[in-house]
Symmetry: C2
Subunit: 220 residues, 2 copies
Amino acid sequence: MLNDPMVLTPISDAPQAEPEKRVRDRGATEKAILNAAKALLAEEGFQNFGINAVARKTGCDKQLIYRYYGGLNGLVDAIGADLGTWVKDRIPEDTGGMFLLTYGDLMERLSLLFLQALRDDPLMRRIVAWEVSENTEQVRRLSEARSKALANWLERMRGSLTPPKGVDAVAVNAILIAAIQHIVLSASAGGQCAGLALKTPKDWEKAETALKRIVRGVYG
Amino acid sequence: MLNDPMVLTPISDAPQAEPEKRVRDRGATEKAILNAAKALLAEEGFQNFGINAVARKTGCDKQLIYRYYGGLNGLVDAIGADLGTWVKDRIPEDTGGMFLLTYGDLMERLSLLFLQALRDDPLMRRIVAWEVSENTEQVRRLSEARSKALANWLERMRGSLTPPKGVDAVAVNAILIAAIQHIVLSASAGGQCAGLALKTPKDWEKAETALKRIVRGVYG
DNA sequence: TTTATTTGTCACTCATCGGTGAGTAACAAC
DNA sequence: GTTGTTACTCACCGATGAGTGACAAATAAA
């Protein structure tokens, strides 16, 4: 008898702006939470990433995040699981009509593809920034998923091409990838990196030219 | 009469571990706050960097931070002011007994010096991580101070050497610096970067060798 | 229909944050 | 001493964070 909901209905008989037929569908809710989390991370970064913010963005109660994902950690894991498909979705597999005859051809192409893909994907940028900013269990798992996907992609694209003799390709490529990631992060955060402006397309052309030159310098 | 402090003294008559003759000295307190802030930033990163944390670390009331520095922004500015001297303190000016005959000689040397300096300075690492993670007024000021100091150092060390014709040295150097910064940040956060382990001295030798090769590749 | 389970909401605790106003303790000038 | 200034502390505010237990409502099972 107490708190009989019927006595409250007249209160809201004003024309509701959003009736929002929220169907009861766990699957849909889970997806909504995941998408909201990814969007939130992409837009706001990891600073304001938390249970409350995700729930707010999803438009549901945070309790559901605990129930369905076991808290923020589980949710981050779910994001990580999605990440495996990132490279596949984001980076073209074809060679853009080029014939990649040498390892240098390959790495030049891959560098530019990776640069572009990262520039185009705010979520991935946020994750990379997160990776270098703290070292928690959450980040570690995300990071692992990302690095694995990236390594697979590199390996797959490599085909039968081999790096020049006497060059530690793993180390060199790590540095190249580091450079690309940091350039993109810097640009995204402050529009420049070490005195090099990175705003206009022309700026980026300069950066790409320099990157190509560097790649060609090591790999010929 | 109310709240007479004398009635409370018996509570803390246990042997105090730190009597800490805190003399009343504004200058010393200001320094203590600044040092605590820098230490806190270096140790914990920017995540937990705030008024309360700094005050706790300093062992004083946060009110003093407002009074002496006008809040966290002013404190960050003070840290930034210190930063100008970083390069001078941290990176040796001499050439390590080498004769730097070419621009390639120079950049190889500078790259390794910068790498080492960054590896050795946790505060600077945190700041770099901060720079690529958010874009607030605080960070922008810190970032500016750092980048200015770095540019000055580069210019000073360059002397009369000039880059090879046809190479956009600004862009190339930006990428090199980006690579170094990211490599160090990655190592610091996760002990590896893009599949390259970065823990043991041997790991770092590999990275340095690769870096040298890259520098020589562009600059000869 | 009655019952049980799933789905979602609400209301709360506890901790910590940035920020502020008012008060206390030391020291200098008189 | 008394007075006034400076250095410093304390106690509180509102907001927001993570996390939890209880309850309402829709749906499925009986």
